[in-house]
């Protein structure tokens, strides 16, 4: 504190919290984030591959929109990812961190596959489909409700519990493939290839159309459930504050268990759709990480089913695009992963600038 210390330095910047931000500004910030991500990605592309980034981006776009078939695959993958996202959303709204969607989908798919494997074509296809549907949903429910019961009664940590259940599901799938497939191959072929028994029918001449329609209906149902039903209201109250829920007499344990029944059921349904409507076989990679990607889809959409249509499509678009450039330019798969990573990093990072404001040092400081 020298007396002649006249030079007073204001900090370069300081951060303040925004209380409210106009929707337009928020979307503006997100748009800038995407543009910045594309620029950074372009720099990465040029430095490590020396391809023209514009061409790369065009290829990326073609990954999803290059042909009618690619477009339908985009829709199909979006539908599956959206379905898992719809499953985890009610749990997340309740602040129940269900990280076990992957395993719940897997056991659902495994159940469907088991039905197909043992029934072969002994049953009419429609009856087999119904049996598959019911067993898949049931097994998804069991996988989802187990951690919920433990959480509700003994307050165990649901994140760990659901996460561990994933590994159990994976090992089960490996086990059954070993039992079912002779001579030690670890890959299971297409089930009921000839009879197509237990396969979801093709409608409108499109193989995946039924999948997409089912998920579209489910999206609407989930939207209505969360916004307009008494149960959806209870989920919101429990998620916001368990104390408030107790105060108004909501049975918190019941809500936790009931919501996880729904969450597990939809995961089981996804497993069924993947086996009966898409792959007609089962493998450890059936869910392909969707159980985790769905968490991101749900968060990015702020747990809003209508917004999840866009976030899930966006993520699938990035994945498809990355795959496309990997093959078209003979790049290592990792390069496309890097690009996807950069884009998602920028989008999530933009939330910081939506919630906080950075105040730079003012240039004209009043002279004393």
């Amino acid at each position: 504190m020298a007396v002649n210390e006249k030079h007073i330095k204001e900090p370069l910047f300081h951060i303040t919290k925004r209380t409210d931000i106009p929707k337009l500004t928020a979307w503006g910030i997100r748009l800038i984030a995407v543009l910045a991500a594309l620029i950074v990605s372009a720099l990465v592309i040029v430095t490590i591959t020396s391809y023209n980034p514009i061409e790369v981006y065009i290829k990326m776009f073609e990954g999803s929109f290059g042909s009618e078939r690619k477009f339908f695959i985009l829709l199909q993958n979006t539908a599956m990812l959206l379905c898992v996202s719809l499953a985890v959303t009610p749990a997340f709204k309740m602040k129940f961190w269900n990280l076990g969607a992957e395993g719940q989908v897997l056991v659902g798919g495994l159940s469907s596959a088991a039905c197909m494997f043992y029934a072969k074509d002994s049953l009419p296809s429609w009856l087999l489909i119904i049996i598959m549907l019911v067993t898949s949903i049931l097994s998804g429910v069991i996988w989802g409700v187990l951690p919920a019961v433990f959480k509700a009664i003994w307050r165990t940590n649901e994140s760990l519990f659901t996460l561990m259940m994933n590994y159990v599901a994976m090992q089960l799938v490996s086990f059954f493939i070993m039992v079912w497939v002779p001579n030690g191959s670890s890959v299971m072929g297409v089930l009921n290839q000839r009879s197509e028994c237990g396969w979801l029918p093709t409608i409108f001449g499109q193989k995946y159309a039924l999948n997409i329609i089912i998920v579209a209906v489910l999206t609407v149902v989930m939207f209505v459930y969360l916004h307009f039903s008494k149960q959806g209201y209870e989920i919101s109250v429990v998620g916001e504050s368990e104390n408030t829920a107790r105060y108004v007499g909501i049975n918190v344990k019941k809500v936790i268990i009931r919501t996880m029944v729904i969450s597990g059921a939809i995961c089981g349904l996804t497993g069924f759709l993947l086996v009966s409507g898409t792959n007609h076989t089962v493998s450890k990679e059936l869910a392909g990480g969707m159980g985790f990607t769905a968490i991101m889809v749900s968060w990015l959409a702020k747990f809003e089913p209508s917004m999840m249509i866009f976030t899930s499509m966006f993520i699938v678009f990035l994945q498809k695009g990355a795959g496309e450039i990997a093959t078209a330019f003979r790049l290592n798969e990792s390069v496309s992963d890097i690009l996807t990573g950069i884009i998602i990093f920028f989008i999530i990072g933009s939330e910081f600038f939506i919630n906080y404001k950075i105040n730079m040092r003012s240039k004209h400081k009043e002279a004393e």
């Binding site: 007073i8 109250v237 404001k357």
Partner: protein, 513 residues
């Protein structure tokens, strides 16, 4: 007087684009002087002090210490300029002793020697007349002792400018007097003291000067000797207001709720309620006074069916059927199904009474959404109710669709009280319903409670301001460490007597919080 110890010039602080917490505030504090910073909640007192102590950084304006312009970027800078702030919420480590907490975080040269520290702490306590054992652990301390540790902490660091943020909010009248004596001694020692408060009588008895803030703006500074309560209120609120509470005589008062030998034990096995017995009567307001954390919350929650009860009885006299019901061991829903119209305004408004992220309409439904067999929600009636409450209670909100967390404290409370009263209760329990509310809102709430009382409702009011309790309540139950230490008539009650009752009972081992 020579140079000011601290001078603020045109300080402005904004949060977001709309909220201006401080606008062009000027403030001067001199050595050997106690300055009161007066203002209603939300007038920007704490924000201003946080800028002096380095927690926030001002958007505009200058700060001078001893006539030199300074920039305070962090609490460390503040410490360098000998500024010490005692916050409302203590920042102490429970398992450490007072002396250990006092030196915590100090980067002193040489070896750590708790003996010299203890000696220095002792010297400070003797110099200013504190009452503190440096070796006592924090978890064994009362709230007032913890506060003493916080004050010595800043003195130990050599603070010359002390800022106290509502130090008396958690103290009994006797403890407050003790604190004031210490502060006066510090003033004589040449310290500059800034005390934030909104209790007018404290301002008048303690300070030399009063600076008033209103809605973030600086209203002015007056000499305490030349002012009075009504002038200060006018400066704070911006208009003259009537500070009287109308208390009518209870009419046709009958027993409504009987609590007999109630015992409660917390999850940690600590006894929170110890053999509590009393009666709540219709058409009267029963006040509950006590130091924070003496069992008030547990008492109300056990009546509302939210707290497991060890033993005892809660008997409700139903005015409709004339029968009595036992409420013990029943859930909130079962109580409601018995036809008991019990309304409860909990202490934690946004954590229990309301859902902050939901709008006013959805919050109205909390109590009533179950009605009807449909699995879908019915939002028409809650919407009407929300609009009625907004109109009748003058809730300031952009619309009924605004999330309640965006409303100010007073408006949040109006929404909550409004909803609880709308259920036409026979028993209305309110825990600290005016905490954090400005004067106008506080009196609006008192009026609502009085209205309910006149309608024959049995009102239970847990309060912290003894002056208000004495003015508003018909009877006051004083609670200390989970025990009832007595029930006094509100009319003609003596504040000192209640204060003593708040700390008595078996040496008064306090449950810390």
């Amino acid at each position: 007087m020579a140079v000011a110890a601290i001078e603020l010039k045109n300080i402005t602080k904004r949060f977001g684009t709309k909220v201006v917490a401080n606008k062009n505030v000027c403030l001067t504090a001199y050595k050997g002087e106690i300055l009161s910073l007066l203002g209603e909640n939300g007038s920007g007192k704490t924000t201003l002090m946080n800028m002096i102590s380095g927690i926030y950084y001002p958007d505009e304006g200058q700060i001078f210490i001893n006539g030199e312009e300074v920039v305070i970027r962090s609490p460390k800078d503040a410490f360098k300029y000998k500024i010490g702030m005692i916050h409302q919420h203590f920042k102490l480590i429970d398992v450490f002793s007072a002396a250990e907490n006092i030196v915590l975080g100090l980067e002193e040269e040489g070896k750590y020697d708790i003996k010299t520290v203890t000696a220095r702490v002792k010297a400070i306590t003797e110099q200013y007349g504190f009452d503190l054992d440096p070796n006592k652990k924090i978890y064994e301390m009362s709230v007032s002792e913890k506060q003493t540790v916080e004050i010595i902490k800043v003195l130990y660091r050599g603070a010359d400018i002390l800022i106290l943020d509502e130090p008396t909010a958690v103290l009994t009248p006797q403890e407050t007097q003790k604190l004031f004596a210490v502060l006066r001694r510090m003033r004589e020692d040449g310290k500059a003291i800034i005390i934030i408060t909104h209790k007018l009588h404290e301002v008048l008895s303690l300070s030399d000067k009063v600076a008033v803030l209103r809605k973030g703006e600086y209203v002015g500074t007056v000499n305490t000797a030349e002012t009075n309560e009504s002038e200060l209120t006018e400066m704070m609120v911006g208009k003259k207001i009537d500070l009287n509470i109308n208390r009518s005589e209870p009419k046709d008062s009958v027993d409504r709720l009987e609590i007999k030998n109630l015992n409660c034990v917390s999850e940690e096995g600590i006894k929170t309620l110890d053999n509590v017995s009393f009666t709540v009567r219709s058409g009267e307001i029963l006040g509950i006074a006590g130091i924070a954390g003496s069992g008030q919350r547990e008492l109300l929650e056990s009546i509302a069916g939210l707290q497991p009860i060890e033993s005892g009885e809660i008997i409700y006299h139903n005015p409709k059927t004339g029968k009595t019901d036992e409420l013990r061991g029943k859930s909130p829903i079962q109580i409601r199904e018995l036809g008991v119209r019990l309304s409860f305004v909990p202490e934690d408004r946004l954590g229990m009474g309301l859902v902050g992220n939901m709008d006013i309409i959805d919050n109205m439904m909390l109590r009533s959404y179950r009605k009807g067999k449909s699995m879908f929600l019915e939002r028409k009636k809650p919407k009407d109710l929300a609009e009625r409450i907004i109109k009748d209670l003058e809730v300031v909100t952009p619309s009924a669709q605004t999330p309640v967390r965006k409303l100010s404290g007073g408006n949040v409370q109006k929404v909550l009280v409004g909803r609880e009263i709308a259920a036409a209760p026979t028993v209305l329990m309110a825990a600290y319903p005016v905490r954090g509310l400005d004067i106008n809102s506080s009196y609006a709430i008192y009026n609502l409670l009085n209205e309910q009382k006149e309608n024959g409702v049995a009102v239970v009011f847990v309060g912290e301001d003894l002056d208000v309790l004495i003015e508003l309540c018909d009877r006051i139950l004083v609670i200390s460490s989970g025990k009832v230490s007595g029930i006094v008539e509100g009319r003609g009650a003596d504040k000192g007597e209640i204060g003593l009752m708040m700390t008595k009972v078996d040496g008064g081992a306090e449950s810390g919080c």
